[in-house]
Symmetry: C2
Subunit: 333 residues, 2 copies
């Protein structure tokens, strides 16, 4: 195993978020499931956008948010994802590079427009996502650069990659290369409904140790094992996965490895403005802890810190230096 | 004079803001004048964007922000400005329509891309703007719909309209139509450097009563009369203009009419996050007061209230209902 060029490389859907406030009545009226991510086609995208209030555009994408967070902690980071050569694609590329993340995936010169997620933020801060995948559909195994994957300590993949037709192949190719080079492969289950769509495949990835580190929230964990019994599901995940972290919002997280479980508290938050990116940024902090060889407790605290930062403002990427924030909280790195 | 369809119609550069935080060193390094608006070409736009940190896109444009504010107070509003049929043009059109503003200016199907302002927000909240005019250059007198102008109680124009080549003609045509129909014409001087570029023309517009109501801040007023003596400049403006309002940031504003001057206090603000749009939203509140036939004191307070709202978040348009905010502060409408 040679020295790594990148601490964490993420592969995911390259998406620009279009965020607007909406009350819960709006969600009901438009048949949206609060807190969930729904895939929509272009026609529905046009209709949803037309009905939304004035919006803000900010780069998003689950794994991309995580990788921007990893870079903000001061680690070496790279991202792989597909945009079109349009204005929103330019915005996505600018923002991820400006976050000091290497981003070299070839841009699509034809086909669908850059992916967008129309996100409705409720008064309580909860977000409901409507994602038009567009150009993200065109990510394929050809976009996986063996040398880059081989040179990354951790390869981080989002479960949402199972949605675009060819991205799954890219995912599996990256995982194989990483393991061939004794690297770690991490996966987030992304969304309870995403787990519902790909439950057997996700379980297989975990049980066959195609992934080494699994991130899930409570709803995703329960969906994975089709149970309402959190403790039973956590125990099962502890047996199935090498290492797993389950986030529980304001209750913090549980880290499970080799039968042992560590509970880590969340950070208190003054006001929840927008929960978009909470899970993504938790993963960023935890991955950073893993990169630095920290304890599960320390890594969980870094995850909680990053999640607390991102839910106190609009948008799913950190607006302050997570490195400085970690130092401020004595989680010095 | 027939009944109006719109309370306020604004004409201005249709711009999408691209906002990022930057320290003052960044401004110095890139030769930017803190607090000012600089016009840039496409090459400079590319260079500025490349050097900026991760950004947020929000619809802007000075008069467009004002009109969005007028609509948020509950008045009937319309906007005239030029975008290209590209993604950012779509964003601009969506946001202004979603703010309940009529926006019917034909979209450019060729030529330069939709205008963008690259805005650096300093730690103290001050903003420094770098504007690429793009498609806004293509606004011409052909875009002025006589019936629409004739049906608007107040026509509001931004001084920045003097920058694009043909917009000046649109401005003058609109002013003439408005006066022919006994409507009020208002002008904001926009920026001290803009006043520097067009001082004689702006003075002429005021002195010939081509405009009836003038908005300026301290720097613009001093630039207009090329003096550091605020009181002398204010007296002169009082003589030159029918009605004028000079904003002074946290010191509130001065309203001058027929030799009399009314001072109005600002609203206290917890934390200044981003001053982008402060003057624009002040104008929104004042114009709304004029529409409702309020006193200068009341109109000034409405302006101060709207300005206070917009400087406490990122972006130059209100994020809460100004109507509800006014009611909350006993400025009920």
């Amino acid at each position: 195993m040679t020295a790594a060029t990148y601490d964490v490389l993420g592969i995911g859907n390259a998406i620009v978020d279009i965020l607007a406030k909406a009350d819960d009545d709006f969600l009901v009226r438009h048949g949206m499931t609060k807190g969930a991510m729904a895939l929509i086609d272009e026609e529905r995208a046009t209709a949803v956008y037309k009905s939304m209030g004035p919006a803000t555009e900010i780069s998003g994408g689950s794994a991309a948010n995580t990788i921007a967070g990893v870079a903000s902690f001061g680690a070496r980071a790279a991202f792989v994802g597909k945009v079109r050569d349009d204005q929103l694609g330019h915005v996505f590329a600018h923002d991820i590079k400006a976050a000091k993340v290497a981003f070299d995936t070839p841009v699509a010169e034809s086909g669908a427009a850059t992916a967008r997620s129309y996100i409705l933020v409720s008064p309580d801060g909860e977000r409901t996502m409507n994602t038009y995948l567009g150009a993200a559909q065109d990510l394929s195994s050809d976009d996986i650069d063996e040398a880059q994957i081989a040179a990354s300590s951790i390869v981080y993949l989002e479960g949402y990659l199972w949605d675009p037709a060819d991205a799954k192949e890219a995912f599996l190719k990256a995982s194989k290369i990483a393991h061939n080079h004794k690297r770690t492969v991490a996966l987030t289950l992304s969304d309870a409904f995403c787990v519902g769509r790909y439950r057997d495949e996700f379980l297989n990835l975990i049980q066959t140790r195609t992934v080494d580190l699994v991130f899930a929230n409570e709803a995703e964990l329960k969906s994975l094992y089709q149970t309402e019994d959190f403790d039973a599901a956590l125990s099962q995940l502890g047996r199935d996965a090498t290492l797993a972290v389950v986030t529980r919002s304001e209750k913090g997280c549980m880290v499970t490895e080799k039968g042992g479980v560590t509970a880590v508290a969340a950070f208190p938050v003054k006001q929840v403005v927008d929960t978009t990116g909470a899970g993504d940024l938790f993963a960023a902090g935890f991955l950073f802890g893993v990169v630095r060889g920290f304890t599960h407790e320390q890594s969980g605290r870094l995850g909680a810190l990053a999640a607390a930062e991102v839910i106190q403002h609009i948008g799913a990427r950190p607006q302050t230096s997570l490195k400085a924030l970690a130092e401020l909280h004595g989680l010095s790195v």
